[in-house]
């Protein structure tokens, strides 16, 4: 058997093992590759950094464990920035399997900055039918969420006094890996005209850049790379996404190598077949 025939018939378990090693080694031994800040992430950072202390930011954090590896570091970085700036955080999760995950993240970041629930931040939790929830929040947050996640009436929470709808929040930034992104753009920003930013999984982000150009989104943070850049901008002590970029770099390089190797063997084999036929 010739060399390219070996490669053409390579056991897929070899590929699995190589990708496993490519992920494992930089996870255990971080390389610390330098990360440049992109203008799009800098724009989002600048927009939030320009808010005054005490202003309210609405964070719809809508993802679940499947995309948490990419979006949890992003959400944590955004929350840390908000608390560093003494902004008040209103959060919700319109993804049913992410509600608990998001609750845990908010509680952890709030504890880091010694923030008090009900005064500095409020978690609304989940309600079904994101499109309806987004539309009704435009009239009054109390319509879809008469109670917060812990069962307290919104009017009993000091932070929510005088906070009725999107008019009372400085901006909305959704970290999202669901079809809810479209709902926020169409039913939320389209109707109620609030400033909307988006953080999404890298694979989804390419679907939404046209909304940045049209002004419907003030910025996009894309995937783990965007989260890593945001971590640098807020000077995070424990850059989870930054370490993840080492892993992603090696994994992407290996996949490109697989593509190149696969094509070389394909072309060599094709030429041999053509020669045999001739």
């Amino acid at each position: 058997m010739r060399w390219y025939e070996h490669l053409l018939n390579l056991d897929r378990r070899v590929l699995y093992a190589l990708i496993f090693i490519a992920v494992l080694i930089p996870s255990l031994l971080p390389i610390g590759l330098p990360i440049n800040i992109s203008p799009e992430v800098e724009n989002v950072f600048g927009r939030i950094d320009a808010l005054e202390a005490g202003e309210i930011v609405l964070f719809p954090l809508e993802y679940d464990p499947s995309t948490a590896a990419e979006l949890e570091p992003m959400a944590m970085a955004m929350l840390r920035h908000a608390f560093q700036k003494d902004l008040r955080v209103l959060a919700c999760c319109l993804s049913p399997t992410g509600v608990t995950l998001v609750e845990d993240e908010i509680a952890r970041v709030a504890a880091e900055y010694d923030r008090e629930y009900g005064v500095d931040y409020v978690y609304l939790g989940y309600q079904p039918y994101p499109a309806i929830v987004i539309m009704t929040m435009g009239e009054n947050f109390r319509t879809p969420f008469p109670l917060d996640y812990y069962g307290t009436a919104l009017d009993d929470l000091p932070m929510m006094h005088g906070v009725r709808n999107y008019d009372d929040v400085a901006l909305v930034f959704t970290v999202n890996a669901t079809s809810g992104i479209d709902f926020w753009i169409i039913y939320g920003q389209g109707r109620y005209k609030f400033p909307l930013g988006l953080g999404s999984a890298a694979v989804m982000a390419t679907n939404y850049y046209q909304y940045v150009q049209s002004g419907q989104l003030f910025g996009i943070i894309s995937g783990l790379r965007g989260a890593a850049e945001y971590e640098i901008l807020i000077d995070t002590e424990d850059p989870v996404a930054g370490r993840g970029m080492d892993v992603q770099s090696i994994a992407h390089a290996l996949i490109v190598l697989f593509i190149v190797m696969g094509n070389i063997t394909y072309f060599v084999d094709r030429r041999r077949r053509q020669q045999q036929e001739a």
């Binding site: 897929r12 590929l15 499947s66 309806i132 319509t143 046209q210 992407h252 996949i255 094509n263």
Partner: protein, 214 residues
């Protein structure tokens, strides 16, 4: 009457909601708010119907021992198990949250993580430059994959060839995302928007009534 009444309700509601968008009056906003309340109530009944349908379908499957019936047992156990655990609260540390973090969380994360292995295998076996279009797609994918990670920027930074400025791989990746990608997306989205509007108009005017079928 059985068909005319729902069509009439659809027409009146559709026309009202379309006009309401352009009427910035308090009474208009109040009616819109009331309709949103109704929407939530109708939505809740739809969820109940959905759960009832799901349970009935899987109970029938279990009773008749149809193919893969044990999966139905797993589904119903998960559904009712989580509901029962929810009675002991849903705050951090509760049985519900413990079940979430020890069962659902690792299962979902594992399922998604396995994609990396499939992508690696597909990249090696299926991603071939067989035609011109496939080659363009392949090159774009390689440039974007490397352009979005720090390693790519180190390997291929911007450089000069005499007076010629050659962009780095990150700039090329950004151009691919922001120019050809967006041009195609815009065309698709404009088409979708026009198609959606036409369909909505047909439903409101009763020309099409998919909600009356079945």
């Amino acid at each position: 009457m059985k068909r005319e009444l729902p069509r009439m309700i659809t027409l009146v509601t559709g026309v009202f909601l379309a006009l309401q968008y352009y009427v910035p009056h308090r009474s208009s906003a109040h009616m819109y708010e009331t309709l949103m309340d109704w929407l939530i109530v109708v939505g809740i009944f739809a969820i109940l119907l959905g759960i009832a349908g799901l349970v009935r379908q899987h109970l029938t499957k279990i009773q008749s021992r149809r193919e893969n019936w044990p999966y139905s047992v797993a589904l119903l156990t998960g559904l009712f198990g989580m509901v029962i655990l929810g009675f002991w609260g849903q705050g951090l540390g509760s049985p519900f949250v413990t079940a979430y973090f020890t069962l659902l969380n690792p299962v979902q994360a594992t399922m998604f993580a396995m994609l990396a292995f499939y992508i690696a295998s597909a990249a090696y076996r299926a991603f071939r430059a067989r035609t011109l279009l496939a080659t363009i797609l392949l090159l774009s994918a390689v440039l974007v994959m490397l352009g979005r990670v720090p390693l790519g920027e180190i390997v291929w930074p911007p450089f000069s060839l005499g007076s010629l400025e050659i962009p780095g791989i990150a700039q090329i990746s950004d151009w691919l995302i922001n120019v050809p990608n967006l041009a195609a997306k815009r065309a698709i989205y404009v088409g979708l928007g026009l198609g959606g509007s036409a369909t909505a108009l047909k439903v409101v005017l009763g020309i099409e009534a998919p909600h009356l079928r079945g």
